[in-house]
Symmetry: C2
Subunit: 231 residues, 2 copies
């Protein structure tokens, strides 16, 4: 009984991954029939780079580390896959047929493995399925690019606010001012952002009434809000 | 002459986009034959939501805004596409055949438009092309997810460093100390990160010799490096 419930939860987890969305129930049953569930201990390896890539994987629980080992023996972590995430599915679509990375469990983990051939045969038989997957992947890529844009800007805001906070001087009458005599492009380079991003963030801070810009001088109207801007 | 050069540069820009990578020269020439270059003025619209989606686009220069207009007339920007970026290619792979968003130029822009039917017919004729595109999209998605993970952690580091910087007290003998008597999960929630991320960043700061953790007390060994950590 418990097994049946766990199995339903597992199916829900699998079907929520974009790779399985385009398939109808009968097709999914075909893919599901070739599935194996593997239990890995901490540090247990799943496959090594160079092994034939006949299966792809979805993490049911735990964390799987994907890594490369350089010639001097150093390990470079390429990715850490958590519950619901897939790995080694990109190599299935490619001409090469061996895994480009090695994998091991960072903690006790359960991993579902799928037969790549069954999956590809279904796609090969239906352009509609291929296109559906391409459409979903394109949309996901756009969404992630948006997220990166947002995070980068948020990150840049932290840097700028941090910089401004360090430059605040108090005038004898208790106002908080910043002397922006350093050229904007120098400041921008010092905080590792583009000059136009620096200007954009200053404008946003002025729009929100946190600072007032007067040529090379900035009056900080609300130092507390400045310090917490973006958090 | 200038036109020929510009055309070669444009081809290089187009071919560097993932959508065109799988095609050989003859196939690319077919897609290229149906291409139109549109010049848009600032604020000029390209298409509106609901119009039939027969073409997809690549920005050659400038910036194109993709947006939705809500029932109350408010505009929500979905994405801003810059040089080399494509838009409306996801809808080409889907069952729906109208644009889900409206578009206009944020600045004077040049946009290449491509005939979706020509592109799809090539893919339909070759599973290898479909798979090549799927493989490339999967890899790109993995890379972007990694980037998001990295940015999120960097962002979290800024928040934590900022918080710690605010808490520093100086002892009579000139040491810099922080009293961490507030529970970690409360601090983590205050700076909008997960408790385990907070712990991970503290550990990283200790590993780098910037702080020394002693139970609920932190000694800041290097306040200047703390302040600039991650920048």
């Amino acid at each position: 009984m418990q097994h049946a419930l766990a199995s339903a939860a597992l199916d829900a987890l699998i079907r929520s991954n974009y790779l399985f969305v385009p398939f109808d129930d009968a097709q999914f049953a075909q893919i599901r029939a070739g599935m194996r569930v593997l239990r890995l201990d901490e540090n247990q390896r799943l496959f090594d780079a160079g092994q034939p890539a006949e299966r792809f994987f979805l993490v049911a629980s735990g964390k799987i580390k994907l890594y490369r080992v350089s010639l001097d023996g150093n390990e470079k972590v390429v990715e850490i896959a958590g519950p619901g995430q897939t790995f080694a599915e990109a190599v299935m679509f490619m001409q090469r047929h061996d895994y480009p990375v090695s994998t091991s469990a960072l903690e006790p983990s359960e991993v579902c493995s799928f037969d790549s051939r069954v999956f590809l045969d279904l796609l090969r038989g239906s352009t509609r399925l291929c296109f559906s997957l391409l459409g979903d992947l394109s949309m996901r890529l756009h969404a992630r690019l948006n997220e990166i844009e947002h995070l980068t800007l948020q990150n840049a805001s932290f840097r700028v606010v941090h910089y401004l906070d360090e430059q605040i001087a108090q005038t004898p009458d208790g106002r908080h001012v910043i002397d922006l005599s350093t050229p904007k492009n120098v400041i921008a380079s010092r905080v590792s952002i583009k000059p136009e991003t620096f200007s954009r963030i200053l404008r946003a801070l002025a729009d929100e009434g946190i600072i007032r810009i007067d040529g090379k001088h900035i009056e900080v109207l609300d130092p507390a809000r400045l310090r917490h801007y973006g958090t």
